[in-house]
Amino acid sequence: MGPSTGPNAAPAAEAVGLTKIYGGFTAVNSLSFQLARGETTALLGGNGAGKTTTIAMMLGLTRPSAGAVRILGYDIAADGAKARARMNFQSPYVDLPKRLTVRRNLMVYARLYGVPRPKEAAEAIAERLRLSEHLKKPTGALSAGQATRVGLAKALINDPELLLLDEPTASLDPDSADWVRSELEAWRARTGAAILMASHNMGEVERLAGRVLMMKAGRIVDDAKPSELLQKYGRGTLEEVFLHVARSSGEEDAA
């Protein structure tokens, strides 16, 4: 099945009635949203809210119980290969082979994503992410922060039109994290790509995200700009909003 509205006109991603039920437990409950190109959206929620399951369904790693995901106009279940060539992701739940050098790992993924001249592409992305001096090192010999940047380099190797990030700066020191956020902002502005980012770092969300999808118990309870959320809840920071939503009962949310 091809893209319904043409690959260039379609939103970066679209979830329609996305639902995941494990046994009797509903992990994700009928989510519907669109991600516009050139926009960074944060997916927020406490542990167990359904963020990782949502991202896994968008990647095609987990099959929805109901609903559908379209990436760049392609149905991820039916046309996954076409979609996956134009997206990428980074997550602390996956690693790159530790015994391979950084250069080799990046070259392998450049080939998998059909990037021309894999060696040059690996060196270019390594330079952009300040990894050039580590290219010859085994990936397993890097610090957690360096490994996170290598994971990000892998995620950017194909200049994806949609980038899914799960805790992108989780193991970075404040200086490295700040630098990575700047690099992500600049990359998005330059390429017009869309970013969907799950994060527990509210400062990061305030800085990077133009839109927040707040999840609770598998549902989206808020979909707004960060400034609108601060206004709605009468709070000074997103962290306070997050705590309010996470600790409130369902009745309060509905009210």
């Binding site: 095609g60 987990t62 060539a85 990428n88 739940y93 790159l96 082979p97 015994r99 392998v108």
Partner: protein
């Protein structure tokens, strides 16, 4: 072309791992060397004791040892390359890349062939130099035997890979357990008729039993049994097809249960 590029990327990744680590290289041919040495020495001792030349029987046993190791190496070559992706928590990265499951399996099959050849060359040389058995005397049937045994090894590893994908690392001993469990029925070192009557149909459903019956006939009587080869090919189509289907089913089931996000943890 892009599919070939993706397959090549994974083959090259495995090749670099093997070439860059002497323990991995040694591990490949260590066990086949031990196997052929032990069996060669046992046979020499037995025939010295009974003061019988026994050359033909010796050849049949050593041929079986070498060819059974081909099955083991091809099975472990695929299974361990797959497990490597799980142990390094890289499978998730691969499954969300443009690499299709068919391309992943194709690359692992190629890696399996590569590893099998590296593993078997020293053992074949030792058999020829120290025990006077030249595997190539089997003649033109040899590639047909090897092809069938490699294909059977793949079918077992696809079953094991499927179980590990679906049930996680708790099932990681499957590659070894399945092969050990199936060995008595494959009639590697003895004819099928040695098995109890009830178990003979089990053996006849396994491609290796036909290959080893064919090997014994070829070495003992100098006759290539085309019927045995035909059965082996036909059964391998069923086994390999079954392995592919089971892997695809297990992968689908793992996606449905959300198991792929936890694999490797």
């Amino acid at each position: 072309m892009s599919a070939l590029n993706r397959i090549y990327a994974l083959i090259e990744r495995q090749w670099v791992l093997i070439g860059g680590s002497w323990p991995r290289l040694v591990d490949l041919f260590y066990w086949p060397l031990v196997q052929i040495s032990v069996w060669g020495l046992i046979q020499m001792h037995v025939f010295a004791e009974v003061q019988s030349p026994g050359t033909v029987v010796l050849a049949a046993v050593l041929g079986a040892v070498l060819l059974w190791d081909v099955t083991w190496r091809s099975q472990l070559g695929l299974s361990l390359a797959y497990m490597e992706e799980i142990w390094s928590r890289n499978l998730g990265n691969l499954l969300v890349s443009p690499l299709s499951p068919a391309e992943l399996i194709s690359s692992l099959m190629a890696v399996s062939v590569m590893k099998t050849f590296i593993a078997m060359i020293p053992a074949v040389l030792v058999a020829a130099v120290f025990f006077g058995f030249n595997l190539f005397t089997v003649g033109l049937a040899l590639p047909l035997f090897v092809l069938n045994l490699v294909a059977f090894g793949w079918s077992i590893s696809l079953v094991a890979a499927g179980l590990v994908t679906r049930y996680g690392q708790g099932a990681q001993d499957m590659p070894w357990a399945l092969m050990f469990g199936i060995t008595p029925f494959c009639a590697v070192y003895y004819p099928v008729e040695v098995l109890p009557d009830l178990l003979q149909p089990v053996a006849m459903a396994l491609p290796p039993a036909h290959i080893f019956e064919g090997l014994r006939a070829l070495i003992n009587e100098g006759a290539l049994e085309f019927a045995a080869l035909g059965w082996a090919f036909a059964l391998n189509v069923v086994w390999l097809g079954g392995g592919v289907l089971l892997y695809a089913w297990m992968l689908r089931s793992a996606r449905a249960r959300g198991a792929l996000t936890q694999i490797g943890e």
